[in-house]
Amino acid sequence: MNDDVPFWNPYLETMSREELETLQLKKFRRIVKWAYEKSRFHRSLYDAAGLRPEDIRTMEDVRKVPKVEKSMMRDIQRKDPFPYGDALCVPLDEVVEFRQTSGTTGQPVYQPDTWQDWEWWSECWATLLWAQGYRPRDRVFLPFGYNIFVAFWAGHYACEKIGCEIVPGGVLDTKARLLKMQEVRATAMMATPTYVLGMAEVATKKLSLDPARELGIRRITCAGEPGALVPSTKRRMEQAWGAKVYDHTGATEIGAWGFECSAQPGALHVNEAMFLAEIEDLDTGEAITEPGRTGKLVITALDRIAQPCIRFDSKDIVKFGVDPCDCGRTYRLMPGGVVGRADDITKVKGVLLAPSAIEDVVRSMPGLGDEYEVTVEKRGDVDHILLRVELAQGTTDSKSVTEALATELRVKTNLGYEIQVHPYGSLPRYEMKAKRFKDLRYIG
């Protein structure tokens, strides 16, 4: 096989817009019909809306289908069959994979998949890994705790599908993982941005190992957090590892829907052959089709059958881009990727604040380490933002860093902050999803 071809699927990834929309509509109609016929939850949801599957004839009709929220999934799984509930569309003995959400925003949601679904998961991942340059000659190290969270499981199986050699770095501590990567000369890895930076810190501080010079990692795929498309965070990771860092986004209930390609356009491609992405205005809920306008992502996994994901309210804040990508794919771009969450973006002192904007400022600041924490609370009737940052290793002048940080934050976010500067190594470290933004204003 020719490994130099640029596309995993040259047919789907270069379709014209018209062909893509025809394919999406065909698949959307099919998955709605499937869910209506196979799941009590979907049938009652659509019946209550007066909708029959055959009512969907055009792309405009898609918006007639009721959205599904995460909270609905939690209610569903209290019903039979245990443990998934009545959104399940296949007999229980067809389910071969259990995963669950991390519970970052509440009670975890269980996710069943058939073997066909699992093939589909790894296919979506194979698409993105191929686009990021993974080839059969790669030896890929996976430093994650193979467990109930979907995390990089599908990345593992996608590597097998592509033909890469997988080195599973499961139950090892960070030092052991780094030494194993060096020992086997791994060429690529996958992790959250937080852990990519954390591993580099452990390598330099505890192993006296410079990842950029002494490990042969050429590419890193990030997921779980938006950092790989936050310019300053991407830059820190690429410098620390001497590697190209690519973003990918997805969710347990949805699938791996977006990816950055090797052209690194500062944007995510939506895998439009497998997903239908809609964007809604945050306030009015009206459809946004034009480029450049930010809204909330409502997404459908077009081929997932065990527990369909149809018009799922992802709460991810995104926008469509304008230009086609240099890579040649016709899949639409979302500049900046997921720039926030509808439940994270919040008004502070009347100003809209996205946590990723703070991250970009902190990590672009020389003299500061990678870790930070933001707490928003009420002091009397006034919103107050406390930002705790760490000095970089070897930096002692906190006064000038604080002044520069305050100025830059004022310029970039239009808000004032109480800034606390802490010694290097004193803020918490995370291995998976970090929770650095805490809004305590509405907690009794």
Binding site: N9, P10, Y11, L12, E119, W120, E123, D303
Partner: protein, 62 residues
């Protein structure tokens, strides 16, 4: 080869018909192996891969 031009479409069509033959063979094995788990379960996995082939070729049924 560009998959979306005329020659590419003929090639896709040929690939799709081969996938259909694979599906028929795997389905036959599955149906005729109720007492033979080693064949039955592997045939089921082949059918899952066949479904993925059909999705990749845009040849999955509407």
């Amino acid at each position: 080869m560009k998959q979306n031009d005329m020659a590419g479409r003929l090639h896709l069509s040929l690939m799709s018909s081969k996938v259909e033959q694979l599906k028929e063979a795997a389905e036959w094995l599955r149906v005729h192996s109720e007492e033979f788990p080693a064949v039955n379960r592997n045939a089921k996995r082949i059918l899952a891969s066949v479904a993925m082939l059909q999705i990749n070729l845009g040849a999955d049924e509407a």
